[in-house]
């Protein structure tokens, strides 16, 4: 019987205790969510994936000034600028980014780029599903960054067009 008592003490009792907790929690609100099917609401200022925003007119906010690249502690942003022409206009003013790349493998999501941006073009939003199978896919190009993101329309306007960077004509 000694064996039984031992078994009760070592196996059954902990099991019951464990199930007991489960049973106790059954009545409470569930904390776990079914991740791929369900998504947890992120905190409002969560900094994940970068996006490049546009003005209401459809013009890109990014002027290719490279200040984000200068501010980036991980040196993961590469910007190449070019000149707008009246025929081919991407952003208000003289300058736009012809290439804008972020190496997401290097990015530490510190948000300095967002702070540095004079036009509010680059923002870090809540999309956190950045995993991929190929390294090359982590190089986010300008086209990818310009994708519309959920809730974009709801955002208050940042860095309204004004002063000298205003659209001419």
């Amino acid at each position: 019987m000694k064996g039984q008592a031992q078994m009760y003490r070592d196996v059954v009792k902990p099991l019951l205790a464990g199930f007991g907790i489960t049973a106790k929690r059954l009545g409470r609100k569930k904390v776990t969510i079914q991740y791929p099917e369900e998504l947890r609401e992120q905190y409002p200022r969560t900094r994940w994936r970068h996006f490049l925003t546009r003005y209401d007119s459809g013009l890109e906010r990014c002027i290719g000034c490279s200040l984000c690249a200068g501010a980036c502690p991980a040196r993961c942003i590469y910007v190449e600028a070019a000149e707008n022409t009246d025929q081919e206009r991407y952003s208000p003013g003289e300058r736009y980014a012809v290439r804008y790349e972020i190496n997401m493998l290097r990015c530490i999501f510190c948000g300095y780029c967002q702070d540095a941006c004079p036009t509010g073009a680059i923002v870090l939003r809540k999309d956190f599903e950045l995993a991929n199978y190929e390294r090359s896919q982590f190089l986010f190009t300008k086209e990818m960054l310009l994708e519309e993101y959920p809730g974009q329309n709801l955002e208050p306007h940042k860095g309204k067009m004004q002063g000298t960077i205003a659209l001419k004509n």
Partner: protein, 696 residues
């Protein structure tokens, strides 16, 4: 004009620190001795102070006999105020800071503040001063001054009048330094703007400098426009090899690509200026026509081959009956290895680097080609520019000569058959008929001889000289008198070899120099031409003979090292015939070119900024340029190609680095004895004067 000739010192007090500074030194310079800084915009140490921007206001007082300090009621501009005995200067008082804030607020009210899109952003004095001294906010709520943005003032310079703070640096540069007065202020008051005449093309050979001295982004480079931001850039010390002056430059590169060239200070050569050829002429680095790998001709097309295959091909075809023609941007090391390769490897001596119409034989050459250093030209009493278009061929020498004229009352005499930029300030202009420079030199020699009362037999009379050259007797006598006053310099360039009877002309000038005690210079023209002369890269047959031999079929093989005879040689027909006829042609170069079409083997070469090397400028100054950018393809420096090939032909110890070769040069060429990599100085080391006829 940073310092007025300092004869004695005065005692002054700066921020309660007593010190002695040279009398007459400007306050803005004097405070630098203490490590303090006075913010400036319009002041530039190489130009006359004007006191326009008022950024440098300081409080100034004078010590009274009783020891107290009596301050002047108004703040004084530090950039126009020379120090004097007992002066007390405050650069850090509340009033000074208030004034700086005020001036910056004024400057910024009409400034567009488009720093994010401005090419100057990040290296802008206005930004820096605003951050250190400026107000954090503006009280200006009215409409800013507007002007069209990004106006193309020339191929190279873009003007943005909104950003201009009217400091006048650019205007003063064109007036005082380059002398073309292409820029001037128009209108007045708040509408004042610097511009060219009716905003027409900014036609200057030195326009690029205004971009660098502009303290804001009003004048920016059209070529660098939006290429990079300062924090994207890496900067390497470099040399410009567009001409033989050997200007020091900064090579700014981004992601291993050259994006911009800026002047680097070297007081001995270019001070801080560059010419437009040097500043904007480095397109070939990123050219789409760059050669990236060795090619071999197969029928009508080129097939890429490995270096080894190319070497084997060359080794098989080149021998005693081969020759090499060299361009002007090959480093000293490359030239030396080429000589070695041809002598030791192929057993041929036929190398030449000269492309002028006349190629003087050894006995006819001028013994000393550079007696005046570039820097010494500004202190000459008289400079005779003979048959040279300095602004085009030696821009930095041109600036020095003009500086001497502008600041030190150097008298400049220009003798030429064409109009040159130096005519505008020449004290005396000897404008002769085309092709009569030799007669002019002889006439001058007679004038000097007459002035010295020596024998004038055998000279043409002044009347005949006037008939042939159209230069009057009185003018010649005047020049002779000027030269005889001493401290004179005669400046010619190698371009004189394209004129009639250059040997006689130079002989006459050399005699004049000897008779008057003037320094005599025949400056080389190409990037490293002086190095080639010093190393003696002109043995065996000369350029004309080599091409003729090729055309006649007397030579089996020709190696073109960074040179295209079709553009360089005065006779295109001869060059065509030669390239057509020569059985085996090696073209080694940076870019695809016309001569490449005749080649059997094409070798890519590294551009000067892509490898380590030394270059000799016109005054014999050896300077080193280290690798700044990467070769875009599989190119190799010229010396490595020659060295590797030599090992294949004649087994021996190969050279591994440019340094080793320079040591070897120093050991074999006494002139280069001090020019090893260990001994080279920051500003370059002048060649050691050697026995006169060493390299003849």
């Amino acid at each position: 004009m940073a310092t007025v000739a300092a004869t004695d010192t005065v005692n002054i007090v700066i921020n309660d620190v007593d010190l002695q500074v040279p009398k007459g030194e400007l306050v803005v310079e004097a405070v630098k001795r203490l490590g303090h800084e006075i913010p400036i915009f319009c002041y530039h140490p190489r130009m006359k102070p004007v006191g326009m921007c008022r950024m440098c206001l300081v409080e100034v007082g004078f010590k009274q006999p009783d020891g107290s300090v009596r301050k002047m009621p108004k703040p004084q501009a530090g950039c126009t105020l020379p120090v004097s005995e007992g002066m007390v200067i405050y650069t850090d008082t509340e009033m000074v800071h208030r004034d700086r804030k005020g001036v910056l607020e004024f400057l910024l009210i009409n400034h567009p503040l488009d720093c994010p899109v401005c090419d100057r952003g990040g290296e802008c004095p206005l930004q820096n001063n605003t951050i250190f001294y400026g107000p954090s906010t503006s009280r200006y709520i009215d409409i800013k001054r507007h002007a069209p943005k990004a106006f193309p003032l020339s191929e190279y310079v873009t003007l943005d009048l909104e950003r201009c703070i009217q400091c006048g640096r650019c205007v003063r540069f064109t007036e005082e330094i380059s002398g073309d007065a292409q820029l001037a202020f128009r209108f007045r008051g708040a509408a004042m703007q610097p511009s060219t005449f009716k905003l027409t093309d900014f036609d200057s050979k030195f326009s690029g400098n205004v971009i660098e001295i502009c303290p804001v982004g009003a004048l920016t480079s059209s070529k660098y426009r939006f290429r990079a931001r300062p924090w994207d850039l890496e900067t390497s010390e470099g040399l410009c090899l567009e001409c033989g002056n050997g200007c020091n430059v900064w090579l700014d590169h981004r992601a291993a690509k050259l994006v911009r060239v800026n002047g680097r200070t070297n007081e001995a050569i270019n001070e801080e200026w560059t010419c437009d050829k040097g500043k904007f002429g480095h397109d070939y680095y990123n050219s789409s026509k760059r050669l990236t790998q060795p090619l071999r001709r197969e029928g009508d097309r080129f097939v890429p081959v490995s270096w080894g295959e190319a070497y084997a091909e060359i080794a098989a075809h080149l021998g005693a009956k081969s020759a090499a023609l060299v361009g002007s941007t090959v480093s000293n090391e490359g030239l030396f290895c080429l000589q070695k390769l041809f002598k030791d490897g192929f057993g041929s001596e036929n190398i030449d680097h000269r492309w002028t119409r006349t190629l003087p034989a050894a006995g006819e050459r001028v013994a000393k080609r550079h007696e005046s250093s570039i820097a010494s030209l500004e202190h000459k009493k008289t400079v005779l520019v003979f048959g040279a278009d300095l602004a085009n061929s030696q821009p930095i020498v041109h600036l020095r000569v003009r500086k001497g004229w502008f600041l030190n009352e150097t008298r400049v005499v220009v003798a030429h058959s064409q109009t040159t930029d130096a005519d505008s300030f020449a004290n005396l202009l000897l404008s002769c008929k085309p092709g009569s420079l030799d007669d002019l030199a002889m006439g001058l020699e007679r004038a000097v001889a007459e002035a010295q009362k020596t024998d004038v037999q055998g000279f043409a009379s002044f009347k005949d000289t006037e008939k042939t050259t159209s230069v009057k007797e009185s003018a010649l006598r005047e020049v002779a008198a000027m030269l005889l006053e001493g401290n004179a310099s005669i400046v010619c360039t190698a371009s004189i070899y394209n004129e009639n009877k250059p040997v006689e002309t130079l002989a006459a000038l050399a005699k004049i120099a000897a008779a008057t005690g003037a320094e005599f210079n025949v400056y080389a023209e190409g990037g490293n031409d002086e190095g080639a002369m010093a190393l003696g890269v002109m043995t065996g047959r000369n350029t004309h003979e080599i091409l003729q031999d090729c055309a006649m079929g007397d030579l089996n093989a020709l190696w073109l090292v960074g040179a295209d005879p079709l553009t360089l040689h005065p006779s295109r027909r001869l060059a065509e015939d030669a390239l057509e006829a020569v059985p085996f042609l090696v073209y080694q170069g940076l870019l695809e070119c016309e001569a490449m079409g005749y080649a059997s083997i094409v070798l890519p070469m590294e551009a000067p900024g892509e490898h380590d090397g030394t270059y000799t400028n016109i005054e014999g100054r050896v300077q080193r340029m280290q690798q700044a950018v990467k070769n875009p393809g599989d190119g190799k420096p010229a010396w490595r190609v020659f060295s590797e090939l030599l090992v294949r032909i004649k087994p021996g110890r190969p050279s591994f680095s440019a340094k080793e070769i320079m040591d070897e040069i120093a050991a074999t060429h006494p002139a280069f004895a001090e020019a090893t990599y260990d001994k080279l100085e920051k500003e370059g080391t002048p060649l050691k004067p050697v026995i006169e006829n060493f390299y003849m």
